[in-house]
């Protein structure tokens, strides 16, 4: 598998959610440069070229990070906090994907610098549309800082 020129880093521990999200992005034509990691620890390894990603080019940052909140080991909030506190990576847009709008998460995420906060819809039509809109907005409409 190639880790080069990854445009979307997709951090999601649920393989089902991952499969459905990838399929939705696929159907809209956004999958060619997506990489899926299964928890926050692996996401940080990827960004900082550690562990399995030691050979990845350091200056090759993704254009977008889709980040699940609730994950084992390092959760989404911790990944968000680490990256947004890092001057090198803080400009990468991070879209939080979460299963619920419960709890104090939303405010905390925006305070930490999240660029968007999406509650994954249960209904597959709505879910598909949400993923499609995220892809459209962040990969096509939104202008990157560089």
């Amino acid at each position: 598998m190639s880790y080069h020129n990854v445009e979307i880093l997709f951090v999601e521990d649920s393989l089902d959610d991952a499969a459905l999200t990838v399929r939705a992005l696929n159907k809209c034509g956004f999958t060619n440069k997506l990489h899926h990691v299964i928890d926050g620890a692996e996401a940080l390894d990827f960004i900082y070229c550690r562990g399995n990603y030691i050979n990845r080019a350091k200056n090759d940052s993704p254009k977008l990070i889709l980040l699940d909140l609730k994950m084992p080991k390092v959760n989404g909030m911790q990944v968000l906090e680490t990256l947004k506190a890092d001057p090198v990576h803080k400009s990468i847009p991070i879209v939080m994907l979460t299963s619920s709008n419960e709890g104090p998460d939303i405010e905390r995420c925006f305070a930490l610098g999240a660029n968007s906060y999406i509650v994954k819809p249960v209904d597959s039509d709505n879910f598909f549309n949400a993923i499609k809109e995220i892809g459209m907005y962040w990969m096509i409409l939104s202008q990157p800082p560089v």
């Binding site: 649920s14 089902d16 959610d17 459905l20 399929r23 609730k70 979460t98 299963s99 619920s100 709008n101 419960e102 709890g103 994954k120 819809p121 249960v122 209904d123 597959s124 039509d125 879910f127 598909f128």
Partner: protein, 354 residues
Amino acid sequence: MKNNDANELIIANKEIAFQQQEKENRAAELIIANKELLFQYEEKERRAAELIIANEELLFQNEEKERRAAELIIANKELAYQNEEKEKRAEELIVANRELKKAEDDIRKLNDKLEQKVTERTAQLESVNKELESFSYSVSHDLRAPIRAINGYTRILVEDYADKFDVEGTKVLQSIIHNSKKMGELIDDLLAFSKLGRKEVTVSEINMTNLVETVQQDLIFEEGENVPDFEINQLPNAEGDKSLIKQVWINLISNAVKYSRKKVGTKIEIGAYQNGNIVTYYIKDFGAGFDMKYYDKLFGVFQRLHSQEEFEGTGIGLAIVHKIVQRHSGTVWAESQLGEGSCFYFSLLSATNK
């Protein structure tokens, strides 16, 4: 001899003259002495009179003294009695003070115990609240995920494997999609309801006419749907949490619209009446109505008085209305006749200055 006699006579005369003189002298002295005696006598009498007066005075003073002495004896007795009384009172006071002190100690001990109990209970409540919060978090997070998967995978079957299923099989797949979606809605409703109990009520004066008009204008109708006429009367202002009371109106108005859907050219009437500092709002429709026999179920969570086929819904709307009005210390009730329509009422404290 004669000479002698004469001499002797002369001498005798002289002697007599001298004696005479002497007698006169004595008489004069006696007169003086008598005068002296008279004066002394008068003096003595004056003194005696003065003494009598002085004696009388002394006698009077003595009597006075004796009277005073008698009074003093009485006064002393009185004082002695009062002293005894005072001592008795002092002892009583000491006893009473001791009792008071003990009562105070008891009260303090009870207060300490109560305070400890309150602290314990508060801690318990807080922990139960936290548990509830994390419970609803898990419910929303952990239950939604598998339902999303069921719904999503079934959709994949429908979209990508349609040729593998016959008509019956496709129907079953649609049922799975429909039901999993429904379950998602139920979970969201349940969460919205449980959130209500935790949300703080921020009270301010609500311009009710404005609020109701906003809610009515935000209604979305599908194409070809029966749109009822709205008759919104002037509504008095009330005290309440604006976002929560808005939710009450959203639920009541959309209910009225939903249950009026099958009647053409119908209307929905909104009004209010005031009684003292209580204002009662009502919303009256001429739609499907319900059987008052089932009234006790009307405001229950997930309770429905119509089938899903007749009118869709999860049965959370009126439960939310009930909870919000209850949290405002108000009352909510309804009257209805099957096929004729319903009227829902809720009361709030009227705005104080209007």
